[in-house]
């Protein structure tokens, strides 16, 4: 089976709270919601973002708006205020999730 990047079928916005990174994952077509639920598990995201997320990843399903939310702990190198990272907020990491192939 052919693989494709999440970028092709979904969009995402990153957010930050302290050292926690939030990543939404929203399919362009609501009919792709089940596909994302089945193939983008918290475990798979944890593997994909192994260089970024140190802590646990919790996945929330929001069937009301056909979207997933990944809450990634210990992901911002200490958090927005004291990180040495280029992108202290982790704002650009939405597109890191969209690099994942399914």
């Amino acid at each position: 089976m052919l693989t494709m990047k999440l970028y092709n079928i979904a969009h995402s916005r990153a957010g930050d709270k302290g050292n926690t990174l939030t990543l939404s994952l929203i399919p362009y077509q609501e009919t792709d919601y089940n596909l994302l639920c089945n193939s983008v598990t918290a475990d798979r995201v944890k593997t994909h973002l192994k260089d970024v997320v140190v802590g646990e990843i919790i996945r929330y399903e929001l069937p009301n708006i056909h979207a997933l939310l990944f809450v990634c702990q210990q992901a911002l190198m200490g958090g927005v205020t004291t990180s040495l990272a280029m992108d202290t907020h982790g704002k650009a990491l939405s597109y890191a999730l969209l690099e994942m192939e399914i």
């Binding site: 970028y7 969009h11 995402s12 916005r13 957010g15 930050d16 709270k17 302290g18 050292n19 926690t20 939030t22 939404s24 929203i26 362009y28 994909h48 260089d51 970024v52 929330y60 929001l62 009301n64 708006i65 056909h66 979207a67 939310l69 809450v71 958090g79 927005v80 205020t81 004291t82 040495l84 990272a85 280029m86 992108d87 650009a92 990491l93 597109y95 890191a96 690099e99």
Partner: protein, 442 residues
Amino acid sequence: MGKAKIRIGCGAGFSGDRLEPAVILAEKGELDYLVLECLAERTIALAQKRKLQDPEQGYDPLLERRIRSLLPLLVQNKIRLISNMGAANPIAGAQKIIEIARELGLSIRVAAITGDDVLAKIDPQWPALETGEALEKSGSIISANAYLGIEPILKALQSEAQIILTGRVADPSLFLAPMIHEFGWKTDDYDLLGKGTVIGHLLECAGHITGGYFADPIKKPVAGMAELGHPYADVFPDGSAVISKVEGTGGVVNLQTAKEQLLYEVINPYEYFTPDVIADFTTVHLSESGRDQVSVRGGTGKNKPATYKVSVGYKAFFLGEGEISYAGSAALERAELAGEILTQRLKDQFPDLRIDYIGSSSVHRSNFGHSAVPYEIRVRAAAKALSAFQAALIGEEVEALYTNGPAGGGGVRKGVNEVIGIVSVLLDRGVVEPKVSIFTHP
């Protein structure tokens, strides 16, 4: 009370946001309320530093420019402004607004909300929520501000003040308060408060829901980004709303922009904590009801937390940085050699030294197997230091690569910044005493 609809606009989503979208909202938006959200977690700690240096300062640095352009429109169109531009000094901010009103010959009543500054009420021995260790162990504490909720804003609204200037207030509360005031919602009707909080959350980042920070020319093209309009919501007494923007402005309001914003910075969609309510976002329904129109229904809530969250600002460290670029053949190899030299010269003194290769893996901390060699690459060195003097060594070492490093390095930039960190504690509600002070002209 008893209005069938109110219109609330959001003309700024952070301190440095563009100035003119709010002016367009005030001019053409037929608003009842304009909210300017200008206070991020760390912004208030920086404002506190300015206030310590000058007791007349400490409000938002753009307050004067924003108010000067908005005030005539607010008065003419009878729009009430609610903003956290008071930052660390709402009283001085209110006095500045009165001064501007006097200059422009406009009558105005301003309410300043204080009481969020709880520096005198926290104990440096209390454990920080993030670290579990005593607050003072993080560093020298410079500010402590509780996230206030709707109560003082409601009092200010009852006072007929046309401008309400706050310090630290939970962002959604800035929007929820006028809904409660106009529709007579009970402050323990948590389902309605949950719905209003959802609407506030959708609006609070201004351009986020009108296509700002959303656009992607390939997958999510947005027209008119240079003249992006900021949003308003028509809110109804049942807690539903329609979000849109001023006709003719750039950007887009659609299901996709609304969904991205609904989940933005949410760490538990079942329990979104504010000082007013714990809102449930999993019961929200969104639909497109017209061009640049999204209808919001649903959202529920339960009893508010017993404590206020307090952001504590502390002096963390001095950040030293330096950057240098390499381009053309063997750019990556020369950049990596620069990185090795810097590591060798700095790692003993700066154990947490970070070397980034900008253009390769600096932003995502990985390149997910994309191994294409970039034509040009920029090396960045960064480290924490105890003094500005020590932090400057990072940039100095990068600059010294001009005569001691790999061939063809250029464009050195170096910098030192004092970094303020933020940790949190919870504080009993009874300890916090929000206060409303009124200033008028004439």
